[in-house]
């Protein structure tokens, strides 16, 4: 066993978790996160274009495939190393062979039937029964990470934050944390509070939107409309407080310009209290809608063991019984005494993922009520540690743990890697669909409600 594999295996055995892997022209770097939130990077040089795989140790399958396609790295032992971003590869190279009695393929996308992001799914089915799904995303690959190289740390923020509107704050904060980690800076309490408020405002609209999406997936127009209305109100509140419905432009490296006076925080608290009440009423009414409730249980199941093995994160992981939430171990943010929300019935199915959003909304409203208890002023970061060329930031987005690694020379970005909650969870969606029915896939997919934009980058 190589020293690199041994290092990763030992760390995983002593409670560390895999949090991402990326290549540079000369190295492959693996990011590990401990239970208490500390991170470390294991670097291995690329020799003869090759690095040992860790795909048998950790959920690094997509990361290694991406590194192979973008940097030409071969991962010894990762067989077959299927293309992920390379869309020129023939069908039999990127799909998993499925054998049996008359299986056939259903190709869907990249363009879908509604207002949905672009991506391609190849379902291997017998009748309506799904045997396997190959997800081919990256139709929206804009080369954001490569385009960010050479820009200043300040300029680089846009490439991370604007990768995805639904995760703009989470991605922006992860990037800012990574830069501050590299610069030896630490947010002041006020800066931590500003960012935590923004992260939770993002989660509120996002979770409301996701519940609306699941209602759409079951054909319950009344529920979908109700939560769409709440989503609209949450976005309007964002605009009132920050000038932007998706909170664009609110995150900066080493500071925050966001100011909320006494009237604004009072208004925000009142509107959030109203949204909290209406969301609770809406969820209660959904509980008593039998045709809706009948659609949710026992489909798209992800067991606790599978969630662990596949590297699931965020509400999807917690709905499967994994009590993981980066917010519980975020000293750079204002989540004092935060604990992951776990359902009594964490069955890992569509129902659990919907209910998980419900209890997490309550948590977000609780956090916001406290943090918006007094006006917010502009804030900055203070010197706390030594400078380094590598920086790591980890943040819990509405879809799970988002890791950002920044490599710099002076003030210039040499490499940016953004690994979002959606990126970690797409293989989990594909797994959840197995054994389900093809007509259930849209609902299963909506119960995860992952982004394509911040996966494709």
């Amino acid at each position: 066993m190589s020293a690199y594999r041994e290092h990763v295996a030992d760390a995983l055995a002593s409670g560390w978790r895999f949090a991402g892997l990326h290549a540079t022209p000369a190295h492959v770097r693996t990011l590990l996160a401990a239970e208490d939130g500390t991170t470390r990077i294991v670097t291995v040089p690329i020799e003869d274009g090759t690095v040992p795989t860790i795909v048998d140790l950790a959920p690094a399958g997509w990361d290694e495939r991406e590194a192979a396609d973008l940097y030409g790295v071969r991962f010894a032992g990762h067989e077959p190393l299927r293309p992920l971003l390379d869309h020129d590869a023939p069908l039999d190279r990127w799909t998993v062979p499925v054998h049996g009695h008359d299986p056939y393929q259903v190709a869907v996308g990249p363009i879908h039937a509604g207002v949905i992001e672009s991506g391609h799914f190849r379902f291997h089915v017998v009748g309506d029964r799904i045997l396997y799904v190959d997800a081919r995303l990256f139709y929206k690959h804009r080369g954001l990470e490569r385009a960010a190289e050479g820009s200043t740390l300040e300029q680089g923020l846009a490439f991370a934050a604007r990768a995805c509107a639904a995760c703009a704050v989470a991605n922006g904060v992860a990037y800012a944390h990574a830069c501050e980690d590299a610069l030896g800076l630490e947010p002041t309490d006020e800066l931590a509070r500003a960012r935590t408020i923004l992260l939770e405002l993002e989660r509120v609209w996002s979770h409301l939107n996701d519940i609306s999406a699941v209602c759409s997936g079951t054909g319950l127009a009344a529920g979908s409309t109700r939560f769409a209305a709440l989503t609209e109100r949450a976005r309007r509140l964002n605009a009132t407080l920050t000038g932007h419905r998706f909170l664009f432009g609110t995150i900066r490296v080493a500071g925050s310009a966001l100011v909320l006076d006494a009237d604004q925080v009072r208004l925000a608290r009142a509107e959030l209290a109203s949204l909290r009440e209406e969301a609770a009423v809406g969820l209660r009414q959904l509980l008593f809608n039998a045709s809706f409730q009948d659609r949710l249980p026992d489909i798209g199941i992800v067991t606790t063991a599978d969630a662990e093995r596949l590297g699931a994160t965020g509400p999807a992981a917690r709905a499967s019984g994994l009590a993981l939430d980066v917010r519980a171990t975020s000293p750079r943010l204002a989540y004092d005494t935060f604990e992951p929300a776990v359902l009594a019935r964490a069955a890992g199915d569509v129902q659990a993922r919907v209910e998980q959003r419900g209890i997490e909304l309550v948590q977000s409203f609780d956090v916001l009520e406290v943090l918006l208890g007094r006006p917010l002023v502009a804030a900055d970061a203070t010197r706390s540690g030594t400078e380094s060329e590598l920086g790591v930031g980890r943040v819990e987005s509405a879809r799970g743990a988002t890791s950002c690694v920044v490599e710099r020379r002076g003030d210039k970005l040499e490499r940016l890697r953004l690994r979002t909650g959606s990126y970690a969870n797409w293989p989990v969606v594909a797994h959840a669909a197995i054994d389900g029915l093809l007509p259930d896939f849209p609902l299963i997919n909506k119960s995860f409600e992952l982004c394509y934009a911040c996966v494709d980058r």
């Binding site: 363009i111 039937a113 690959h141 490439f159 995805c164 509107a165 009344a222 769409a228 209305a229 982004c451």
Partner: protein, 153 residues
């Protein structure tokens, strides 16, 4: 269920949109050609209760074969160019193309040059431009309603 419907009635049609001069309908096919998902999120809310585009006869349809308007979001990536052209080629005449959001209009696009195919108007004839990053649901609705008024008689 009835309570849900009652609550929704209260929310409806709160945004004052101009009534088109003429009555008509438009079937819209949306294609995400490489967006950040912001335009999609706002477009989704045009069917929500506040804007409720359906009351003007505007709806999102599943196939370009049923569509009057191709509504394109995002910086067009090289990987989406072919699918975008296929959707356009599948549409019956008369057809219109609307570019939704600043990326689709080629403004301030982020990305590597080799991954981007260019703004929508470099690929398709654009009839309607809807600026914004992203445009609000009301702005999207207002712009689309202009297409009803500007239809050939």
């Amino acid at each position: 269920m009835l309570t849900l419907l009652r609550d929704i009635r209260r929310l409806r049609r709160e945004i004052a949109l101009p009534r088109p001069d003429r009555i008509g309908s438009l079937a819209i096919r949306h294609v995400d050609a490489g967006s950040c998902n912001g335009c999609e999120h706002e477009l989704t809310l045009t069917s929500g209760p506040h804007v409720d585009l359906a009351r003007f006869g505007l709806g999102i349809v599943a196939s370009p074969r049923h569509a009057d308007v191709l509504l394109v979001t995002g910086a067009v990536t090289t990987r989406m160019r072919e699918a975008l052209l296929a959707a356009y080629n599948a549409m019956p005449e008369p057809r219109r193309v609307a570019a939704l959001g600043d990326c689709a209009l080629g403004c301030g696009v982020l990305g590597s040059r080799e991954e981007l195919a260019g703004a929508v108007e470099e690929i398709l004839p654009v009839d309607l431009r809807i600026p914004g990053c992203p445009p609000t649901p009301a702005a999207i609705a207002e712009a689309l309603l202009m297409l009803i008024d500007s239809r050939p008689a």
